[in-house]
């Protein structure tokens, strides 16, 4: 592994990213893709949580869409059927989803690897069935429409342009928070768990508790994303929360890099572009391609595509600077 190149390059990259993000929704730039960009932001939020979960605690969640859906449905039902303030609904959704993750987290996290994956798979499917079946609340398979916009005072987020900034505000906030966590004592504990659970336990890290905490965190992220999702579309249905949705999230995490925070943007971005733009004409092939991506990435770059690209880029720069020093 390369030594960290804590450089002006990183700051430059982030600055460039920010400028790019601010300019995207303008019609003279990439405005026609605002909708896609909003979905990328929302997906990134869920993906970051998944990256932390899979990358740091080594736990695969094959049902992350369940939390995404819970956030969506809580927000939808509370704000539409019960007229709760959408922001409050979002907060309640996040707390409820997080609480749910906590309750099922402890028993599930005593399981290891394979069993856990199946448990989350089962969980995702159960939630999807519930979304479809509890039609008195959820509107059943046809879903619910008429969900209100989010607003701050008299400023209503009623255009894609406005919602783009809202979504990316949340998305960047979550990325920053995750980055802070990773670089902290908590982050070290997580990396320790990933490095050697036995050793981590031996120096006082409560491995099970950390796993649950990250699980809850990933659930909260997903819930917030789900809430933003329904206030964007003003519509909710079970369809975006099925097994395939969970698989796509894993694809995003895997492309972005399992233990990478900022890689999540890359992962979500490429996968969304792939699924929403390029693969539409391919019928069922898109499923096969996701499967292929998962297999290829796991075989050749299990640390994640983005992470590998960063490595390669860093190596090239190192060689360049060495040559520069020699001449």
């Amino acid at each position: 592994m390369l030594a960290k190149i804590k450089s002006k390059w990183t700051y430059l990259a982030i600055a460039a990213l920010l400028v790019f993000l601010i300019l995207v929704p303008f019609d003279w730039f990439l405005g026609q893709y605002k909708g896609l960009a909003i979905f990328i932001g929302i997906s990134t939020m869920v993906t970051v949580g998944l990256c932390l979960l899979m990358g740091y605690t080594g736990q695969v969640s094959l049902g992350q869409a369940a939390f995404y859906g819970l956030g969506a449905y809580f927000s939808a039902v509370l704000s539409k059927t019960y007229d709760v303030n959408p922001w409050l609904a979002m907060l309640i959704a996040a707390i409820a989803t997080g609480g749910f993750a906590y309750v099922i987290g402890y028993p599930i996290f005593r399981l290891r690897g394979n069993y856990l994956a199946m448990a989350t798979l089962g969980l995702g499917l159960i939630m999807w069935i519930l979304f479809r079946q509890l039609s008195q609340f959820t509107g059943g398979p046809d879903g619910m429409a008429g969900i209100p916009y989010l607003s701050i005072g008299s400023f209503v987020f009623d255009t894609s342009f406005k919602r783009y900034f809202l979504v990316w505000f949340f998305c960047l906030a979550i990325l920053l928070i995750s980055q802070n966590i990773v670089q902290s004592r908590t982050g070290r504990a997580l990396r320790a768990i990933h490095g050697s659970e036995a050793a981590a336990e031996s120096i006082g890290i409560n491995v099970a508790q950390f796993k649950v905490k990250i699980f809850v965190l990933s659930a909260v992220y997903a819930s917030l994303a789900g809430s933003l999702f329904v206030h964007h579309l003003r519509f909710v249905s079970p369809q975006p929360f099925d097994f395939l949705a969970s698989v796509k999230l894993v694809v995003m995490a895997v492309i972005g890099g399992l233990a990478s925070v900022w890689g999540a943007i890359f992962g979500a971005g490429t996968t969304r572009i792939l699924s929403d733009e390029l693969l539409l004409s391919f019928g069922e092939w898109d499923i096969a391609i996701y499967g292929l991506i998962l297999m290829l990435v796991m075989i050749f770059t299990p640390e994640g595509l983005f992470v590998k690209l960063k490595d390669v880029f860093g190596r090239l720069r190192l060689r360049h600077s060495e040559r520069g020093a020699e001449s």
């Binding site: 290891r112 089962g122 969980l123 069922e284 996701y290 297999m295």
Partner: protein
């Protein structure tokens, strides 16, 4: 529920459960020999059914060669999957392997969806379509085939594992991969065989069930999950317990639908298996964790 109805539900549960048993056996064999959970197990069931449809109806083959060929092709695919995907992923962590087999499952499903479309297909019944009266209920001849095949396969598997060289080698790997290696057993060859057998078991299940339950490109996930439940009940070690588990699951599902109380309609049937799964995993988690630590 009347006695007649009860018997009817019992029979349909036994039938469904037999399929879960076969899928579960596939999971068990692969896990016992390689410690891998093959998330693509359900897809081989799907393939068995789909292939038998294509060969028997579209290609017009006679039934028996069509069935045999279907199982053979699916088995070959299981072997290929192991060789291409699993073997090439050298330093694969547990997470990587899970994602890898999920990727394989999705890949197979996607290809199937493209080749066969999304509609259900029905291969021909093995023998006739008239239900037979039995203890006040009706049992379809295909259901008898399903149950019968499962019994035969289970017995054959048991004999194979206990009395043939290869079978005993597989068992040795299951008990201790390291010790097996020390006595000259090639772990990679055993893994390949395990994958092939598991694919065959799944395909046999698929081939025998498809005429009765229909099949489509996306049945793999649920079947895989339920087979996993069966295998969990057997602790991923004990084939007989796996079969028993599958059958119990099938019967519980069937009866739950039959009981039909309150808001729980038959659409919740699938959820039952999932809840059972979570309960088993949670209840066993303590013991599983302890076993892992002590090894």
């Amino acid at each position: 529920m009347s006695a007649d109805q009860f018997v009817q539900y019992l029979i349909s549960g036994l039938t469904q459960g037999s399929i879960y048993a076969l899928v579960g056996l596939g999971f068990t064999i692969i896990y016992a020999v390689t410690r891998i959970i093959n998330f693509a197990q359900g897809e081989f069931v799907m393939l068995g059914g789909m292939l038998s449809f294509t060969l028997a109806i579209s290609a017009g083959l006679h039934l028996v060669p069509a069935l045999l060929l279907s199982v053979l092709i699916a088995t070959a695919m299981g072997a290929i999957m192991y060789l291409l995907a699993i073997r090439t992923a050298k330093r694969a962590s547990a997470v990587s392997l899970i994602i890898l087999t999920i990727g394989a499952a999705i890949f197979i499903r996607g290809i199937a969806g493209e080749l066969w479309g999304v509609d259900f297909v029905r291969p021909p019944f093995f023998t006739g379509r008239e239900s037979i009266s039995f203890l006040g209920a009706y049992i379809h001849p295909q259901a008898l085939w399903i149950i019968g095949t499962t019994i035969v396969v289970t017995i054959l598997l048991h004999l194979f594992l206990s009395y043939t060289m290869v079978g005993k080698a597989l068992k040795a790997c299951a008990i201790s991969p390291r010790a097996a290696g020390l006595v000259g057993i090639d772990a990679k060859a055993m893994a390949l065989i395990a994958f092939a057998i598991a694919a065959a078991l799944g395909a046999i299940g698929g081939v025998v069930m498809a005429p009765l339950t229909l099949t489509a490109y996306n049945v793999g996930v649920m079947l895989g999950l339920k087979g996993f439940v069966a295998a969990s009940i057997g602790g991923f070690k004990n084939p007989l317990a796996t079969v028993a588990g599958g059958i119990v699951l099938g019967i519980v599902e069937s009866l739950a639908v039959g009981v039909d109380w309150g808001p729980f309609t038959s659409s919740y049937k699938d959820a039952i298996a999932l809840v059972v799964l979570l309960l088993i995993l949670i209840l066993r988690s303590g013991r599983l964790a302890a076993e892992e630590r002590e090894s």
